[in-house]
Symmetry: C2
Subunit: 209 residues, 2 copies
């Protein structure tokens, strides 16, 4: 499992000419880094005497961030499974009409899975962005820059995963299905961009830069 690789090995695998892990896995890692940093800000705020008023809020933020981190770690490997499934379907025999029909149906089913997997990553990254906003607003001022790094990582993950949704949706014949996923991603991209810049500016203002 990719997530058990060392960081250096993961980066070597990413750089290699093997197709996975690739951008989809990297997107999930970026999102997971964002979720982890939200937890860091929460953990360094909870229990500090000047932050008693936000303790419960940040406990809830941390609980959600931990779930999202686990989901995004799973998404690293789901990306590999989805990619292999599409490649496997393209590799099916196509000598007879029956085989051709079966292959075409398998490709379409695999492409739908390979569109929904990065879409789940997009949504998870979006939720991390929302939590980053809460961390930047309420977190310990000493580690507020980590909330800024969290939102940047999560938004990079979101925009990266979005590219995989677009690529796979493009080859789907069921256009109603495909356009629905594309529209959802475009809406989230726009909202995420606005929230990310707002959180980054909040952080810059708080650190006086």
């Amino acid at each position: 499992m990719t997530a058990n690789s060392s960081l250096v090995t993961f980066l070597d695998d990413l750089a290699s000419e093997r197709p996975t892990p690739g951008g989809g896995g990297a997107a999930a890692v970026s999102g997971a880094i964002g979720a982890a940093l939200v937890s860091m800000v929460a953990n360094l705020t909870i229990g500090k005497k000047n932050y008693e008023a936000v303790r419960e809020d940040l406990e809830a933020v941390n609980a959600k961030a931990e779930l999202l981190r686990a989901e995004l770690i799973r998404a690293i490997d789901e990306d590999v499974v989805a990619f292999n499934s599409v490649m496997g379907a393209y590799g099916l025999p196509r000598a007879t009409d029956e085989e051709k029909a079966k292959r075409a149906a398998s490709i379409q089913a695999a492409l739908k899975d390979a569109t929904l997997a990065p879409l789940r990553a997009v949504k998870a990254c979006f939720d991390v962005i929302r939590l980053s906003a809460a961390a930047a607003e309420k977190g310990n001022l000493n580690v507020i820059s980590d909330a800024g790094v969290a939102v940047l990582s999560a938004n990079a993950g979101l925009r990266s995963a979005a590219l995989n949704v677009f690529i796979n949706a493009k080859a789907i014949k069921d256009r109603d299905f495909a356009e629905k996923q594309i529209a959802e991603v475009n809406a989230l991209l726009a909202q995420a961009a606005e929230m990310t810049e707002s959180v980054y500016q909040t952080v810059r203002t708080k650190i006086g830069s």
Copy 2:
């Protein structure tokens, strides 16, 4: 060494209430992910028959990306060293005037190092953004989205490392030194934003989204 941790352990350490690894380490990882994906695009382009004309360009891109990845992996641990050095200086004794003067000088020296370390990461991420632009322009169309993920990761790394430059520069008494580093980062932030959006749009156009 953090870079030898598994991905899951790195994320656990990031999320914990220990101050390192934190945003600085995460910034370096984002930059390294960008560099690795530039190499991936190069490795999946070099040797492909439709891309003979760009082979030499992409070999040069890959060589630079590998150096930048190694530099950014080192930066993960340099961030920890710089942080510990600042904390160590703040912890020095201050009973006598002599001790106070020595402590103040140590803090200032450590803060300068802790400003220059993330500044090096900012510059390395900027170079990764430039290489991503070349990868998006010349790379194999089948993996062009990975050039898009590369630029997003590198820019998130750049903006994240920038926050650490700002924080540490703020506490430096040598304002000429501090303002010089801040101005350099602000200039790179602006250029990086423009280049990143340009590469992302190039990639979206090429994948037809």
